[in-house]
Point group: C2
Chain length 333, copies 2
C-alpha cells in the first residue's frame, strides 16, 4: 500500500475510472498530483477489446506528453462491481460489454503494465487512505453518497475484500425492516434512503403525507423532483425540504452507529454529491450518530468529509490501487 511500493524508476501510476458514460484516465505521481487526464466514451465500442485499444491509444498520448513511458508502476481501475481478486466484472452491470469482463488481463496485456481493479467506492477509500483525509488511518469506513450508496471498509490498514472480493456493500444493509424496495432485491436498504434518489423519494413521500403544508417543491412536477431541487429549496428556507435532509441525516447517522459496532473505525469519511450539502446533512447525521451509537463510541469516532477534489477523486482513487498492482504481465503487443 502507498508509497512503500514505489521504485524510483517507476514513479507514476495510472488511474482509470470506468463510468457508465465516460471513462476517465489520469497520470498520477506519488504525492497524488494528477499530472494530466483524458477520457473516452464508455459506450462507443460494443467490443471490449476495441474499447481497450482506444483507451490505450488515448492514454499513450498522455503518457508520452509527460515523458512517462516505462515509468508507470501500475494501473489501478475503478469499475462498477470490479472484483479485486479475479480482476473482472463478473456480474452484468450498466456497461456495453457482457460479463464476465476480463478487465485487468486485457488492459495489463495491452499496456504492458500490471493492473488491478476494484469497485468505485473501494477505489475511493484507497484514494482517501493514500492521498486524502484518511492518510495514516488504519481503520476507517468510506461512504460514497451518489445515485446509490457505496462503501469501502478498511481494517488494520487493509481494504476488506471478503471471501469473494465483493465485501463492503453497506448501501445494502437494512435500515428499515420491510422498508423501500431496493434494486438489489432486498428491502429497506440504506441506499433507498440516503442516496440522491432516496432523498428525492423522501421528498415525494413527505409532499404526499403533508398535503396541507406549503413547500417550494410544490411548484414542480412531483416525479421530476431531484435531490438538487430539495437542496435548493432547503437552502431557500423551505421547512419540508429541510425536514427531508433531517430525515436523511438521521437514517444515515443511525446506520453509521450500527457500522461502528462492526469494525470500531477511527472515522467515517463521507464523499459524493450529497456530502456537498454540508451542515444540512452533516448536522442531523452527527447528532443521530452520537444519540444512537454504543456508549463506548460516543464522542470518539470522527465523521469527516472527503478532502479529495471531486473532479479528480475517481481517477485518484483508482490510481492509488495502481501502487498495489503486481501481477505478472506479457509485454504490450
Amino acid at each position: 500500500m502507498g508509497t512503500s511500493a514505489i521504485d524510483t524508476t517507476k514513479p507514476y501510476v495510472m488511474g482509470i475510472d470506468i463510468g457508465g458514460t465516460n471513462t476517465v484516465f489520469g497520470l498520477v505521481d506519488a504525492r497524488g498530483t494528477v499530472l494530466g487526464t483524458g477520457s473516452i466514451k464508455t459506450q462507443k465500442h460494443s467490443n471490449f477489446q476495441d474499447y481497450v485499444d482506444e483507451l490505450y491509444e488515448k492514454a499513450s498520448i498522455l503518457i508520452k506528453d509527460h515523458d512517462a513511458e516505462g515509468k508507470i508502476h501500475g494501473i489501478g481501475i475503478g469499475a462498477p462491481n470490479g472484483n479485486y481478486y479475479t480482476g473482472m466484472i463478473e456480474t452484468q452491470v450498466n456497461l456495453p460489454w457482457k460479463a464476465p469482463i476480463p478487465l485487468t488481463k486485457l488492459i495489463s496485456e495491452k499496456f504492458g503494465i500490471p493492473a488491478a481493479v476494484t469497485n468505485d467506492a473501494n477505489a475511493a477509500a484507497i484514494g482517501e487512505m493514500t492521498y486524502g483525509v484518511a492518510r495514516g488511518m488504519k481503520d476507517f469506513i468510506m461512504i460514497t453518497l451518489g445515485t446509490g450508496v457505496g462503501s469501502g471498509v478498511v481494517v488494520n490498514g487493509t481494504m476488506v475484500y471478503g471471501a469473494d472480493g465483493m465485501a463492503g456493500e453497506l448501501g445494502h444493509i437494512t435500515v428499515r425492516r420491510n422498508g423501500r424496495t431496493c434494486g438489489c432485491g432486498r428491502h429497506g436498504c440504506l441506499e433507498t434512503y440516503c442516496s440522491a434518489t432516496g432523498v428525492a423519494k423522501t421528498a415525494r413521500e413527505f409532499l404526499e403525507a403533508r398535503k396541507d403544508e406549503p413547500s417550494l417543491l410544490r411548484d414542480m412536477q412531483v416525479e421530476d423532483i431531484t435531490s438538487k431541487d430539495v437542496y435548493d429549496a432547503a437552502i431557500a428556507g423551505d421547512k419540508l425540504a429541510k425536514d427531508v435532509y433531517d430525515f436523511t441525516g438521521k437514517v444515515l447517522g443511525e446506520a453509521l452507529a450500527d457500522f461502528a459496532a462492526f469494525t470500531s473505525p477511527e472515522a467515517f469519511v463521507i464523499f459524493g454529491g450529497l456530502a456537498k450539502s454540508g451542515d444540512l446533512l452533516m448536522k442531523p447525521l452527527r447528532e443521530a450518530f452520537e444519540a444512537d451509537c454504543m456508549p463506548m463510541h460516543k464522542g470518539k469516532i470522527k465523521i469527516l468529509l472527503s478532502e479529495l477534489k471531486e473532479s479528480d477523486a475517481a481517477v485518484l482513487g483508482a490510481s492509488a490501487l495502481g501502487w498495489e498492482a503486481k501481477e505478472p504481465v506479457e509485454t504490450a503487443k
Copy 2:
C-alpha cells in the same frame, strides 16, 4: 497466527477463560488437545493481585504435572471486554475488580510468560480458526449465542479489533428500529432478540399476545420462563414455543444477511447454548438468510455450527491467542 509461531522448545500454550463465576485454565498443545484444566472462583478475591497469585499457584501445579515448565509459548486470556491492544479490561464489567484491570501485565509478570487478552467471543473465533470448523478460512464471522450475543469478525485471516480494540460487537447492531431496550443503552439490538434472554422474552410476549392459545409454557410462572423451558416445550411439539424459535431464527438469519453485505464472509460459525437447539433454530435461520441476503450471496455463504466441545471451547479459544502473545515480560517473581 496458529502453528507458524510455535518453537519446538515451547510446544504448549495456556488458555485462561475468566467468567463471572469461575475462571477456567488449561494447558493446550499445538493440535488443540487440552492436556489438563483447572479452575478457581473468580469472585473469591477482591484484590486482583491476590486473584492472580491464586491462579498462578493452581496453574503451576497443572504445569508441573505435565512437565511443561519453561515450555509454554504464551498465555491467552478470554475476558469480558478484554482489550487486545491495551491488555486490559477498561470498562467496568461484572467482575470483582475495579476497571481498568491490567490483565496481561500482572499475569505475564507473575507467570514469566507473554500474555494476550481479548473478549470471549473473539477468543472463540480464534479458537475456531485455529482448531475448529473455521480452519483454513480467511474470512468468517463467529456468532456466540449465550446470555448475550457475542461475535468475532475475521477478515483476511486476521481478527478485526478496530481502532480501539473493541470491534465486533454484532450483538449490538440494530435489528428492529425502536425495538427492545438493550443493556448497552441502544434499542432493538440483535442481543435483545437472539440471546437466551431474548428467547425467553419473546416467549413472554407471544404468551401475552396470544392469550387464547394453549401452550405448555402456560403451566409455569411467566417471569420464570427460560430459553431451556421454551426449548423443552418446542421439542414436545408446542406450537407457540416453536413459533418463538422460528421468530428467533428469522431475526438472526436476516441479521446475518446484513452482516454478509459488510464483510462477504465464507461462513458464519454459530456457537453457544442456543446453537444446541439444532434445526429448531438453524432451519428458520438458514431459510431467512437465503430469503433475505443479497442475490450475490444466495447459496454461497455457509452457516455452520461450531465443532468445538463446549466444555473445552472457552479455554481452547483463549489458548489459541497464546500463540500470538509476544510482549516482552519480566521474569516471574
